[in-house]
């Protein structure tokens, strides 16, 4: 499942199986799930029978054409669904390949021996050994070791990721390959219920259930069908008063053109395609409900790092204290960072070079002091000179007594200033003497301010979540243009914030990766878990982002909205179509009773038969014509609801009113020209 996969809609390998499937889907047991199409099929079947046994004044040729177009209406509907499913099935096939024939090296007791069993026989709690080159047999948690894993089979990303025991990078997925080292994995799911299995089921649409919104829409369509059924069923009585009768075939045509076949035929295709778009976007939604909820989101909780700012901070300034010169500080910082391969470390080297033209190579006698979680300080020892850098408190702690110096007081003042400006201070000390602080600046992503502006126009509030202190957070929030921020956020704070927003009737979306994010992910209406995150986080969220890109939350909201908009647009179009169809069929139906009613034939359709046929042909053909729109979704641009409605109403409401007048007229000319009626 490559990321850039964007197949054309109508390639032969998709269309041919879809045509086959569209006939299979005529099975009444399956068709009843879509009541409007079921009615259409029932009418088509009735007309087929009447074609043989019926008695009326209509020609057999006319009735035959009618029957053919009625069946085509149903088939176009099943075809749309089959085509949408087919696109998912193609993806499922490549996923299945990844899952085929997984063999597990199951440890016996605590090891070191293991036996080989098929992955399908693993049970929760089993520990398996995965060595270099092995496929991971089951979803689970790394309990020992660290390894680099290629997860291309599910993410489409070929760069390996690190998986290690403990912490937030411990979850592994069946079907991914260990490419270095070995790990022990504790199985956490039953066979057949893993991530890959769920993904296959999802993209295939096998477990598809109607979402709440689809259920409501289906009810509306059923209601409209009943109303139009009444309108049509009562016509024979009225006609009999006028001293005539209406052939069943004509009534059938009127019914089918009035009931909302267009939207009903495309409804499930829209839903499947919406999920599919998300999958193509490398986001897996665990349910259609989650995708719809994404469209309704009012508040977005966004992690600062990686979403609002680029993940790495950049050194931007040297602030010397205690009489040290700026150059002295820069040189010390440079030396301390020579061995520091983090982006922040490299940016210090670059800044020192740019600012003071300093150029240093690693001295031969240098001893690198690596960063450890205990000291939280790194540095270098060259001869008897010890240069250290680290968080201000950590440096002061490393040199007891240094906190009382005048330099320390000055340093605290400087670090406050840096924090207030949205930066992170990094203190530098030379043999315990405080030289000053490096200003590490959070760099706000280009264009993010504009995106937040768009979200605001759409009525969505953005809240930045950060571990930074309130001063820093406020500065970055102002620069990025978010509406609010939550500083020094703990998982409990996040959860409380989500609950508070929900109390006020808001829907909240967030993303997270750590185990401690799990409660908040579960509480949020839309929780996007990062694929690199822990198993707990992946279970708690209702979506998983395979690329682990937190910025995507914004796009997910857009996709949710697009899905709902597509449904609304096609429903409106379908309902608006009825006006023209009435004006095609009513005069054709009644002109024999009252010739004066011919004036209602505003389209000037050639004959009553041609008018009826044209309406039913238009009604059928509009379905395949709208399949691309249903599968791709309506054009979506972030804007406020008012202009958005005006725009969509002009296109799909007004368009739906006018288009059939033109379409039916053209078909009528063709039908007349070809001598079909």
């Amino acid at each position: 499942m490559a990321k850039t996969q964007s197949k054309s809609l109508f390639t032969a390998d998709l269309v041919v199986p879809a045509i086959k499937a569209s006939f299979v889907k005529l099975n009444p047991a399956e068709l009843i799930r879509n009541p409007v199409m079921f009615v259409t099929a029932a009418v088509a079947a009735l007309m087929t029978i009447l074609l043989v046994v019926g008695q009326d004044d209509l020609t057999t040729g006319f009735k035959l054409q009618l029957v053919v177009w009625l069946w085509l209406t149903v088939l176009f509907g099943t075809f749309a669904e089959a085509l949408a499913e087919g696109r998912g099935k193609a993806q499922a096939a490549s996923l299945r390949a990844a899952k085929a024939e997984l063999i597990a090296k199951r440890l016996i007791g605590d090891g070191p021996h293991h036996d080989s069993v098929p992955a399908s026989q693993l049970k929760i709690g089993d520990i398996v050994l995965v060595e270099t080159g092995d496929l991971i047999p089951s979803d689970g948690e790394v309990v020992a070791g660290v390894a680099s894993v290629n997860e291309a089979a599910i993410t489409g990303e070929s760069a390996p990721v690190i998986r290690e025991a403990g912490g937030d990078r411990s979850a592994v997925t069946a079907g991914t390959r260990v490419i270095s080292d070995e790990i022990r994995v504790k199985v956490t799911v039953e066979p057949g219920k893993g991530f890959l299995d769920r993904m296959i089921a999802l993209v295939e649409g096998a477990e598809r259930q109607k979402t709440p919104n689809e259920v409501a829409l289906t009810l509306l369509l059923v209601g409209l069908t009943i109303i139009f059924l009444i309108a049509v069923a009562t016509v024979p009585g009225f006609a009999s008063y006028a001293g005539g009768s209406i052939p069943v075939a004509v009534l059938a045509a009127l019914l089918i053109t009035l009931i909302p076949t267009t939207i009903a035929a495309l409804l499930s295709a829209i839903g499947i395609a919406g999920m599919d778009r998300l999958v193509r976007f490398n986001v897996l939604a665990k349910s259609g409900r989650a995708v719809e909820a994404a469209g309704d989101v009012d508040v977005l909780l966004l992690d600062k790092t990686g979403t609002i700012t680029i993940g790495d901070r950049q050194a931007s300034e040297f602030r010397a204290v205690g009489g040290a010169s700026e150059a002295e500080l820069a040189e010390a910082a440079l030396l301390a960072s020579l061995a520091d391969e983090t982006p922040e470390g490299r940016s210090i080297v670059v800044l020192a070079k740019d600012r003071f033209a300093l150029q240093r190579t690693m001295p031969a006698d240098a001893e690198v002091i690596p960063f450890t979680a205990q000291t939280r300080v790194s540095g270098i020892r060259i001869g008897d000179a010890l240069i250290q850098k680290g968080a201000v408190d950590s440096i002061l702690r490393a040199h007891p007594g240094s906190g009382e110096t005048a330099a320390a007081t000055e340093l605290r003042r400087v670090t406050d200033e840096i924090a207030r400006a949205g930066g992170t201070p990094l203190a530098v000390a030379h043999n315990g003497r405080l030289l000053g602080a490096i200003f590490l600046k959070d760099v706000v992503k280009a264009g993010i301010r504009e995106r937040f502006g768009e979200l605001r126009a759409m009525g969505i509030r953005t809240v930045m979540i950060t571990g930074d202190n309130p001063l820093t957070a406020a500065a970055i929030a102002a620069e990025a243009g978010v509406d609010d921020f939550l500083a020094q956020a703990t998982p409990e704070d996040k959860l409380a914030l989500i609950r508070k927003e929900q109390q006020g009737g808001k829907l909240v979306a967030m993303c997270g990766d750590g185990t401690n994010d799990a409660p908040a992910l579960a509480q949020a209406d839309v929780g996007v878990a990062m694929n690199t995150g822990t198993q707990a986080a992946r279970e708690a969220g209702n979506m998983v982002d395979l690329d682990s890109d937190p910025t995507k939350l914004i796009e997910v909201v857009g996709l949710g909205k697009q899905l709902l908009m597509t449904r609304g647009a096609l429903t409106t179009f379908s309902v608006a179509n009825d006006v023209a169809k009435y004006f095609a069929i009513i005069p054709a139906m009644f002109v024999a009773l009252y010739p004066g009613l011919g004036v209602l034939n505003v389209m000037g359709l050639a004959t009553p038969e041609s008018a009826i046929l044209s309406a039913i042909i238009f009604n059928a053909l509009i379905i395949p014509l709208l399949v691309p729109l249903a599968l791709k979704g309506v054009a979506y641009r972030p804007m406020a609801a008012g202009p958005l409605l005006a725009r969509n109403l002009a296109v799909y409401g007004l368009g739906g009113l006018i288009a059939p007048f033109i379409g039916i007229k053209i078909i009528d000319l063709l039908v007349g020209g070809l001598g079909l009626a």
Partner: protein, 567 residues
């Protein structure tokens, strides 16, 4: 069409718009159960009423309980009226010695007045004794109107309340509406009518000598009081068979204007009350705007058609508009306006004979009713019917802004959609179903006076009027037969209560929902776009269903008229 005619129509609307907020405010006080200035006098009456009947006005009811009490109350009233009408012959207050009514006529009439329809299959003065009129019928004029307003309040509460299990107290709503709104308004209105020359007396018949010297018996009675509630409560059942065309019911141009205003008064006010109840009066104005657009469109067609007149008569040398069946006192504009007002609201009072209108002129009253009486509508019933369409509109078009549809802060989900469609489907089912049946059955075909499409219009109009609880008659149809009495009775019953119960269920479901605050991303339900959308959906979903029937009735009738064909 004349300038004076249009000045009347537009002036009429302008007066109502000016009255909307004051009336809405008064209704809002009753909706909230707040004190009004009238409490000083009527407060003790209200409290003693509660004490006597053992009602706690503070006791809130769930939608089921509210519906149950409303249904039981109406069923009891109906049974009471049925008994009074059947026993008329043996009851007192019957100076003319009129006999009891037949079962089918009593059934039809009891339902008719209980459902605020006031369809009259009988001639008022020649069938009903004074006791029947006052005890059996007038009581409904108040209570059926109060029921409609109470139900509208219940639905408003559904929209306004948050995570609530209850939608008010039926008895408290009924009492407050009757005591603080209908009664005082009717007292003042009655006095105005008496001053204008409408009789209000218990004396029966007065013999007079006409200018030609002939003897004539004039029937009098408590006309003014009946007239007031007939209009205010959109009941429409007149004291006299000629209804508001009768000079004793509607003596002057001023009473004619006030009668039309009073039909719409509460309907206009309730739109404001709704807006206030949901915390944004612009929501109310938007609804009123959509209603007014539909109303003015209807008036335009009817006035234009009536003013244009009948080409067949023109050919015979009768110039001018269509004056058949109209009072010369009122003329074309005031008659056309009255007909659209009375059918837009489910009043049914008439000051001209709709059957004599031109085909298209008469189609508008028909179409107004087929939309479900949502253009202003009957008191209460108009706005709750309209809100059902609003729910439908929000659902069809609301998705286009990319959110789950919401209306005034409440999400519209499958339960609301299901119930709204169910309620709306009642109209075509009953109107078209019964009209179709009557077009085939011998008993049905015996009804209409005219042949051809006009005869069909007469049948269609009768069932439309019944289901929509309007009660106006197209005349022409002989409705006082067992067939039509039974069938129309059922139509009125279903048309009222099969819409009310789903509507109350929606109120209950909405009340239980949490409130979704409005944002820039919410579907806008104020402003011109929304108004246009509402009108569009009402016409397409509510109106198009009836196009086949209209094509075979008034439209075919009209086209035949143009071609000089008569039946």
């Amino acid at each position: 069409m004349t300038f004076a005619g249009w000045a009347l129509i537009l002036g009429f609307v302008a007066i109502l718009i000016a009255l909307t907020k004051p009336v809405g405010l008064w209704l809002f006080a009753l909706y909230e159960g707040r004190r009004t200035p009238l409490h000083i006098v009527l407060g003790p009456v209200e409290r003693s009423f509660y004490r006597l009947s053992g009602i706690d006005p503070q006791a809130e009811q769930s939608w089921r309980r509210y519906a149950l009490h409303m249904l039981l109350f109406n069923a009891m009233l109906m049974a009471f009226t049925y008994a009074v009408l059947r026993l008329q012959g043996v009851l007192p207050g019957n100076p003319q010695g009129l006999p009891g009514l037949s079962p089918h006529l009593a059934f039809n009439t009891a339902i008719s007045f209980t459902t605020n329809t006031n369809w009259q299959s009988y001639g008022g003065e020649s069938t009903m004794s004074n006791l029947s009129q006052m005890l059996g019928l007038t009581i409904h004029n108040f209570l059926s109107a109060a029921t409609g307003i109470a139900l509208a309040f219940a639905l408003f509460r559904g929209f306004a309340r948050r995570q609530a299990q209850t939608i008010g107290n039926f008895w408290a709503d009924m009492t407050r509406v009757t005591l603080y709104l209908l009664l005082p308004l009717c007292v003042a209105y009655t006095l105005f009518l008496i001053a204008s020359g409408v009789p209000q007396t218990m004396a029966g018949v007065v013999d007079v000598t006409t200018l030609e010297g002939a003897k004539q018996s004039l029937l009098l009675g408590p006309v003014a009081s009946q007239e007031a509630i007939k209009m205010i409560g959109t009941n429409g059942g007149g004291f006299f068979n000629a209804n508001s065309a009768h000079p004793f019911e509607n003596p002057t141009a001023l009473t004619n204007l006030v009668q039309m205003l009073s039909i719409f008064l509460i309907g206009f006010g309730l739109t404001w009350t709704f807006g206030k109840a949901v915390g944004n009066t612009r929501q109310g104005w938007a609804i009123l705007a959509a209603m007014t657009v539909l109303f003015l469109a209807g008036v335009t067609v009817t006035y234009w058609q009536e003013a244009a007149g009948n080409p067949i008569l023109h050919a015979l040398g009768t110039a001018g508009g269509n004056m058949e069946g109209k009072e010369v006192r009122f003329g074309i504009a005031a008659s056309a306006l009255f007909s659209v007002v009375t059918t837009a609201a489910s009043c049914g009072a008439v000051n001209a004979m709709h059957d004599s209108f031109t085909a298209l002129g008469g189609m508008i009253p028909l179409f107004n009713m087929q939309l479900g009486e949502v253009v202003i509508g009957g008191v209460g019933a108009g706005i709750y019917g309209f809100l059902l369409f609003a729910i439908l509109t929000v659902f069809v078009a609301g998705l286009m802004v990319g959110r789950t549809p919401e209306y005034v802060g409440k999400k519209i989900e499958s339960r609301e959609v299901k119930l709204a469609v169910l309620a709306i489907a009642v109209l075509p089912l009953m109107i078209l179903g019964f009209a179709s049946l009557s077009s085939v059955l011998e008993q049905g075909l015996a009804g209409p006076l005219n042949k051809g499409p006009h005869g069909f219009s007469e049948i269609l109009y009768a069932f439309t009027s019944a289901v929509a609880n309007n009660g106006s008659a197209f005349a022409g149809l002989t409705a006082n037969t067992p067939y039509y009495n039974w069938l129309l009775g059922v139509a009125m019953w279903v048309g009222r209560f099969f819409i009310i119960v789903p509507m109350l269920a929606i109120a209950g479901s909405l009340a239980a929902k949490r409130y979704t605050p409005e944002s820039a991303g919410s579907f806008p339900t104020t402003g011109a776009l929304w108004v246009g959308l509402l009108v569009g959906i009402i016409l397409i979903v509510g109106g198009l269903t009836f196009l086949p029937s209209l094509a075979l009735g008034p439209i075919a009738d009209h086209l035949a008229m143009i071609r000089g064909q008569s039946f």
